[in-house]
C-alpha cells in the first residue's frame, strides 16, 4: 500500500511546523523520515493519521485518508511518542481495551504480546514499566490489527543499546514480511542499515527524498603529504575541488585514488598516505540539513 503525502501544511499560531510537504512512500519499502529536532516529523505523522488537522494538503494510504479507511487499525499501525497508557492498567489490560476497539480477539492479544516480548511483563501495571517496555507495548498495540503499513515516530528514543538492537532486529523482521514502514529519526545511525529510502526535512520543508544510496554522493580522496601547499595549488589550478582540513591533509573531490597518485607523481609530490573516503550517511545528513549553519 503506497503512502502519498501532498502539500501538507500546518502552523501552530505564529510557528509554522510544516510547509507544503509532499513525498511518497512505496509499498513494501522501509523509508527513513529524517530531520533534526523540531523539523516537523511528529507533526507530519500526526497529520497523516488525522490526529492533527492540516491547514492544507492531504495524506492517503492506498488512496484513502486514514479516517476514511474501512478498517484503520488493521491497515496502518502507529507508534507515536505522545501515546500513553492508563497507569492503573496492566500491559495486558491496555492491549485488551484496544483489541476490543479494533474487534480483535484475545488470541491476537496473546500473539502480539508474545511477538513483542510484552508477555514477560503483561501483568504489570503500565505505571512501573521501563521506557523499553513501554515501547514494546506501543508496538504490540500498533500490531494488533496486523497492519501492512507502520508509522513509527522516533521509536528508539530513550532506549538503551540493547533495546535499540532488539528494535532494529524486530523492525527488520517486520520489513521482511513486506510491510511498508515509515520510521522517523533525528539521527541517521539508528536507521542507516534498515531504510531503503529516505525523506529528509528541515524547518518543515522537504530537503531531499530518494534511495539511500543516492544520498552518499561521490567519494573523496584524502591524502597526507609534505608539500600540501603546492599540491593543493596545482590541483586547484586544473579545476579540482580541494579542501584542507589540516595543514598536511587534503581532501580531493572528483578524482579516483589512481588519478590523485598520478597527479602527485607528475608534480613531484611525495604522498605519505592516501585514503579513499566514503562520507557516512551521518555526514551527508548533517550536510543536507545543516545548510549554511
Amino acid at each position: 500500500m503506497n503512502i502519498e503525502v501532498r502539500g501538507l501544511t500546518k502552523a501552530f499560531g505564529p510557528i509554522t511546523a510544516v510547509t507544503d510537504l509532499s513525498f511518497e512512500v512505496e509499498a513494501g519499502s522501509v523509508t527513513g523520515f529524517l530531520g533534526p529536532n523540531g523539523a516537523g516529523k511528529s507533526t507530519t505523522m500526526r497529520m497523516m493519521l488525522g490526529l492533527v488537522a492540516p491547514a492544507s494538503g492531504t495524506a492517503t494510504f492506498g488512496g484513502d485518508r486514514y479516517a476514511d479507511l474501512p478498517h484503520p487499525s488493521a491497515t496502518v499501525g502507529a507508534v507515536l511518542d505522545s501515546a500513553g497508557f492508563h497507569p492503573a492498567h496492566t500491559a495486558r489490560d491496555h492491549l485488551r481495551v484496544y483489541a476490543r476497539m479494533g474487534g480483535y480477539g484475545t488470541a491476537r492479544v496473546n500473539q502480539v504480546a508474545d511477538l513483542t516480548g510484552v508477555s514477560a511483563f503483561a501483568g504489570r501495571t503500565t505505571r512501573i514499566l521501563s521506557t523499553g517496555m513501554r515501547q514494546r507495548l506501543s508496538l504490540a498495540t500498533a500490531l494488533l490489527g496486523d497492519p501492512q503499513v507502520l508509522l513509527l515516530d522516533e521509536p528508539s528514543n530513550g532506549l538503551d543499546p540493547e533495546g535499540i538492537a532488539w528494535l532494529r532486529y524486530f523492525l527488520r523482521e517486520l520489513a521482511a514480511d513486506g510491510r511498508t514502514i515509515l520510521i522517523s529519526s533525528h539521527v541517521l545511525g539508528k536507521i542507516e542499515h534498515m531504510a531503503d529510502h529516505v525523506v529528509v526535512i528541515r524547518d518543515g520543508r522537504l530537503v531531499t527524498t530518494g534511495p539511500v544510496t543516492g544520498l552518499y554522493g561521490s567519494a573523496t580522496v584524502l591524502v597526507r603529504c609534505a608539500q600540501a601547499d603546492r599540491f593543493a595549488a596545482e590541483l586547484m589550478e586544473s579545476g579540482v575541488q580541494v579542501e584542507r582540513p589540516r595543514p598536511d591533509l587534503l581532501r580531493i573531490h572528483g578524482l579516483s585514488t589512481a588519478q590523485v597518485a598520478t597527479a602527485a607523481a607528475s608534480h613531484g609530490v611525495t604522498l605519505r598516505e592516501i585514503t579513499r573516503e566514503q562520507p557516512t550517511l551521518e555526514q551527508v545528513f548533517l550536510h543536507l540539513t545543516g545548510g549554511s549553519r
Binding site: H86, G102, T141
Partner: protein, 268 residues
C-alpha cells in the same frame, strides 16, 4: 469495521471495569445511600436547625432530597471517564483505533448512561432500604406513602444517570482533569447557590440543573433556607415533569457538546 458500535461499547466497558473507577463508583453509590441512612438514624428532628421528623412528609422529603444532593458524585465519574484519556494520553491511541471521533465519544456516553443508572439504582436502593429500616427500628411510619418514596427514589436514580452524562460532557469539553473536576464540584456546591442569592438571576434557578433536580426530587429545603436567610422569597420550582424535561434537555445539550467538542481538536 472499527466503528462497529458493539466493539466500541465493549472497549469502553473493558476500560471502565479494568480500572478501579467502577469500584470507586460503587463505593460512592453505597456511601451516599448509607449517608442518608445515617441521617435518618440521627433523625431530622435532631438537625441544626431541627427539621420535621421522619414520620412527617417533609422530613422524609428532606432526607430524599439530601440523596439528590449527591448527584455531583456520578457527574465526577463521568468527567473522569473522558478527562483521564487526555490526562494519561490514551486519547491518541483511542483516536487511532476510532478515527471518527464522535463514535468513541458516543460509546462512552452510552456506557456511562448505563453506569449512571446502575449508580443511581445502588444509591436509591441503599437509601430506600435504610429509610425503611430506620423507620422499623424506631417504630415509626415514614411520612410519605411507600409508593411515593419509591417513585422519588426512582427519579433520583434517573437524575444521577443524567448527571453522569453531564459529567462526560464537561470532561470532553475541558479535557484537563483537575480543571474539569473543580468546575463540576464548584458548580454544584457554589455557583448555583450563589446564583440563587442574586435577585434577578434567581428567577433562572428553576431552569438550572440544580433547580430542575430539586423540582424532580421535591427537595426545596436549600432554596427555602436561603430565602429565609436573605429575606427574599424562594424561587418557584418547576413541576416535577417540567424539571425532568429541563434535565433531559441538559443531557441532550451535553451529548451534543461531548460529541462535537473533540471533532476538530488537534490531538498532540
Amino acid at each position: 469495521m472499527t466503528a462497529l458500535p458493539a466493539a466500541l461499547l465493549a472497549a469502553e466497558w473493558t476500560r471502565l471495569t479494568s480500572t478501579r473507577l467502577w469500584l470507586w463508583g460503587l463505593l460512592a453509590a453505597l456511601g451516599s445511600g448509607a449517608f442518608v441512612g445515617l441521617l435518618a438514624l440521627a433523625g431530622p428532628e435532631n438537625f441544626t436547625p431541627p427539621l420535621p421528623g421522619l414520620d412527617t412528609a417533609q422530613g422524609t422529603h428532606v432526607l430524599l432530597g439530601l440523596l439528590g444532593c449527591t448527584v455531583f458524585a456520578p457527574a465526577l465519574l463521568g468527567t473522569v471517564a473522558v478527562s483521564s484519556e487526555y490526562r494519561h494520553r490514551t486519547i491518541t491511541t483511542t483516536t487511532l483505533f476510532a478515527p471518527r471521533r464522535w463514535t468513541w465519544l458516543a460509546a462512552k456516553l452510552a456506557v456511562y448512561t448505563g453506569a449512571g443508572l446502575a449508580y443511581g439504582a445502588v444509591a436509591a436502593i441503599v437509601a430506600g432500604g435504610a429509610l425503611f429500616g430506620v423507620a422499623v427500628l424506631k417504630g415509626i411510619t415514614l411520612g410519605l406513602p411507600t409508593v411515593t418514596v419509591a417513585a422519588l427514589l426512582a427519579r433520583i436514580a434517573l437524575t444521577m444517570a443524567v448527571y453522569t452524562l453531564l459529567g462526560v460532557a464537561v470532561g470532553a469539553l475541558l479535557r484537563n482533569q483537575v480543571t474539569a473536576l473543580v468546575a463540576v464540584g464548584a458548580y454544584f456546591y457554589m455557583i448555583e447557590t450563589v446564583l440563587m442569592l442574586i435577585p434577578g438571576i434567581k428567577e433562572l434557578y428553576p431552569y438550572l440543573p440544580g433547580g430542575a433536580t430539586a423540582a424532580l426530587t421535591g427537595f426545596t429545603y436549600l432554596a427555602d433556607a436561603l430565602a429565609g436567610q436573605t429575606g427574599t422569597s424562594a424561587a418557584h420550582l418547576l413541576s416535577a415533569p417540567a424539571g425532568a424535561a429541563v434535565l433531559v434537555c441538559y443531557a441532550l445539550i451535553a451529548i451534543a457538546v461531548a460529541v462535537a467538542a473533540p471533532l476538530r481538536r488537534d490531538i498532540m
